[in-house]
Amino acid sequence: MPRTHPSLHLAVALDGAGWHPAAWREPDARPGELLSAGYWADLVTEAERGLLDFVTIEDALSLQSGHPTEPDARTDQVRGRLDAVLVAARVAPLTRHIGLVPTVVVTHTEPFHLSKAVATLDFVSRGRAGVRVKVSARRDEAAHFGRRTVPRLPFDDLGTPAAQALVAELFEEAADYVEVVRRLWDSWEDDAEIRDVATGRFIDREKLHHIDFRGSRFSVKGPSITPRPPQGQPLVTALAHDTVPYRLVAGSADLGFVTPHDTAGIRGLLATIRTEQTAAGRADDTVHVFGDLLVFLDDEPGAAADRRARLDALAGAPYRTDAHVFTGTPAQLADLVQEWQRAGLTGLRLRPAALPHDLVQITRGLVPELQRRGAFRTAYEADTLRGLLGLPRPVNRYAAATPAATAAPPGPTVPEAPPAPAAV
């Protein structure tokens, strides 16, 4: 009997008390602790206990809202959250292997600040940092910054030319943003710090580079104030639902999150992303694609569906989201995960409907089931996030441009990407 391909990858998306708006009312929820370090440390260490590749941490530059473009006045759902990069940094010293991928809004922030923040997350986690870049078309978020206005758009109909134009503009800016961030990560060559006592020089300034980025929305001179991080390039990810965002994934990211609802959908969107990848001149680069799946998990058949119905009743409406919603047992989920993987996905990002319940079901139910099937790792095989995902440490673009420096060694603390784990 043929073995399942072993290098399945799993991530979890952490947000508040879970993705269902009534999740905070579950008996094991900790709704009064959502802003405490201990809450996040417990979630991330649980995910690490399950040998997951990484966690993502949701964020936005506005208070949570049930409305797509505006704040609401609801008082029956979780409101208030912490900066995701700082949450990731806070848990980094408490974990050793799991990747940490905070969400960052690129529309209102500075690529210079973000570049050094994620580089620093990579330093404090010793090579486990990533970032999920997200654009914002929300008028309320723009008003929090007061620097640009966003036109009022009929967001229920993204097909209007005005909406399409805005989306295109925001994603073009996001691509510029990622380009700046990546150039800043490379703006120090790995061996720029020389500490040459004989000549009195701390750095070799020939190995620091102005990035001189000039785009239509902003320009950045560089170099970074922070040296090149352990992974060289921390993992850049984006969530995408349509052609324009797929283009960002294909052209700028190392990993994309997509929201298919069946295997035909997976094949279709993978074809689109690969086409865009070729168009962007990145046909030879590895761009991982993870499928997002919202999960209600319980051991007893039917219990998860009952729980979903109970939470929906508390929320006052059936929960709808962009991703496919799965209710069932960990074993049933293992079947779906493997089916989706066979359709071409690198792995899945699971969104637990309720925390910690559905996370624990993933780490202690789904993962052991997949391990029994020989389909998931039984130990971490690398110390860095790129290593876990089989991605090499990138050559520095500026070092590569200097003939004498093409043989520059990788950073001292990061091993080469490990071989794929052997099938059990």
Binding site: Q64, L82, V91, P93, A119, R201, F202
Partner: protein, 462 residues
């Protein structure tokens, strides 16, 4: 009746990018690796220090159009390091410098409020302004602020973040499972702030943090900076290292507080200070001399002089006399991204003073630079240093010090092991943390509702 004995406040500055950090010492470690930050933070916490302090610089320093390569170059992101340090310390305050020119209030407020939550009440923000277009070239806005608008923006920035911090009272989250009420107030976080620099409205998304708002530090020394500190800051990071200058500054700034409806205890004055310890005072003096020579090489001396002269002085001998030519007045073209450049506003006068000093003491360029740039505040045996620090504080030259070790990351170890116990014996420094927040350590009391004074400092540009 004698004055009550003041308790000393001590903090540690991480020795990273800094002309006083000695990287060539065999004991010098990385200024980037997280282990270095952990080491210094744990030493500071073991010693009972109030906080660890991080500086910031948003563009690498340049000279003659090339990146400065003689001192430590490169540092991590301030807030990210502080959040990670919150995981490996329990009580130590975590103070970061964040510039108000190239950030926006909503983002900075949520970052500091987040840090305060994640550290259970240990966050502090040192508010600084940027001064040049050189730094602005790294940001979307570019170099956009006229010099006279910088403090206006800083004041308005602080007032805006203050409004955001105060937009949650702290009792809105009830999270009652049975009734289904998570938020008691549907309007929590509402803000509306319209002044010349900021036109912002909406809802702040981080509920009130353990300290209410982070401890606010101010580091400028101008008239505007002093007034800003007196109106809005909880602590001042000053540069007045001598007893006389310290007392004058202390009296001046503390004297301004009443006008803002505040008492002298509401603001702590903490100068930066360096130290060199030895088994004997002579031994310490000798070590201090060696350290100064390591801090100021011949090349460093020439480059330091160029920062004042605004000219290429590469042809001069560092062991020879000062240049006869005068500094070039006007726009600075030689050295960029350096605090020294903006602080010396009258280069001709400073150069004349330096020439007179070199003449009087028969100093070479290098010796002169060592003389005028060094601030080794406390040199001597641990007993002498403890006594001197105590006398500075008791005579109102400061409320304590932010110590700037010259070695990363072990530069505080000896001080923690030898000087701190002597201060404890004197009864002027804590033997254990009494509170858990930085406000507790600084004796500031809980952050109340916004003071009228803070808002009152915001004036429109006319």
């Amino acid at each position: 009746m004698s004055k009550p004995v003041k308790q000393i406040h001590l903090a540690a500055h991480f020795p990273g990018v800094n002309s006083t950090t000695v990287w060539s010492d065999p004991a010098a470690g990385s200024q980037i690796d997280f282990d270095s930050f952990v080491h210094l933070a744990r030493t500071a916490e073991r010693a009972g220090f109030d906080f660890l302090f991080l500086a910031e610089g948003l563009r690498l320093r340049e000279q003659h159009g090339a990146i400065h390569d003689l001192d430590v170059v490169g540092r991590p992101d301030t807030l990210t390091v502080l959040a990670a340090l919150a995981a490996v310390t329990d009580r130590l305050g975590l103070a970061g410098t964040i510039n108000s020119t190239f950030n926006e209030p909503y983002e900075v407020a949520r970052q500091f409020a987040s840090l305060d939550h994640l550290s259970a009440g240990r966050a502090a923000w040192n508010v600084v302004t940027s001064w040049d277009e050189f730094t602005g070239e790294n940001f979307r806005r570019g170099g956009f602020l006229a010099e006279e608008d910088r403090y206006l923006r800083a004041r308005q920035f602080l007032a805006a973040t203050w409004e955001l911090f105060d937009s949650w009272r702290g009792d809105e989250i009830v999270a009652d499972r049975r009734s289904g009420v998570f938020l008691a107030d549907p309007d929590a976080g509402r803000f509306d702030h319209h002044v010349s620099q900021f036109d912002i409205t909406g809802r702040f998304d981080v509920p009130r943090s353990p300290q209410g708002r982070p401890v606010i530090f101010q580091a400028g020394d101008s008239e505007e900076g002093r007034e800003f500190a007196a109106s809005a800051a909880d602590a001042v990071f000053s540069r007045h290292g001598t007893l006389e200058a310290g007392r004058a500054f202390y009296a001046d700034v503390k004297g301004r507080l009443a006008r803002h409806g505040r008492s002298p205890d509401d603001l702590k004055i903490l100068p930066a200070a360096t130290f060199v310890l030895g088994d004997t005072d002579a031994d310490a003096e000798e070590r201090a001399h060696v350290i100064r020579r390591l801090q100021v090489s011949g090349q460093t001396a020439i480059r330091t002089l160029e920062q004042l002269w605004n000219r290429d002085l590469g042809a001069y001998d560092p062991d020879g006399p000062l240049p006869e030519i005068d500094p070039l007045v006007g726009e600075h073209t030689v050295a960029r991204g350096r605090a020294d450049v903006r602080m010396r506003r009258d280069p001709l006068t400073v150069a004349r003073q330096w020439r007179e000093l070199a003449e009087a003491k028969k100093l070479s360029i290098r010796e002169l630079v060592i003389e005028v740039t060094g601030r080794q505040s406390f040199i001597g045996t641990p007993a002498k240093v403890a006594a001197t620090i105590d006398s500075f504080v008791q005579s109102d030259a400061s409320d304590g010090f932010i110590l700037v070790p010259h070695l990363t990351p072990g530069g505080l170890d000896e001080f923690a092991d030898t000087v701190v116990p002597l201060l404890q014996e004197r009864g002027v420094f804590r033997t254990a943390y009494e509170g858990s927040t930085l406000r507790d350590h600084l004796g500031l009391g809980p952050a109340g509702r916004p003071r009228a004074a803070a808002g009152a400092t915001v004036r429109e540009a006319s």
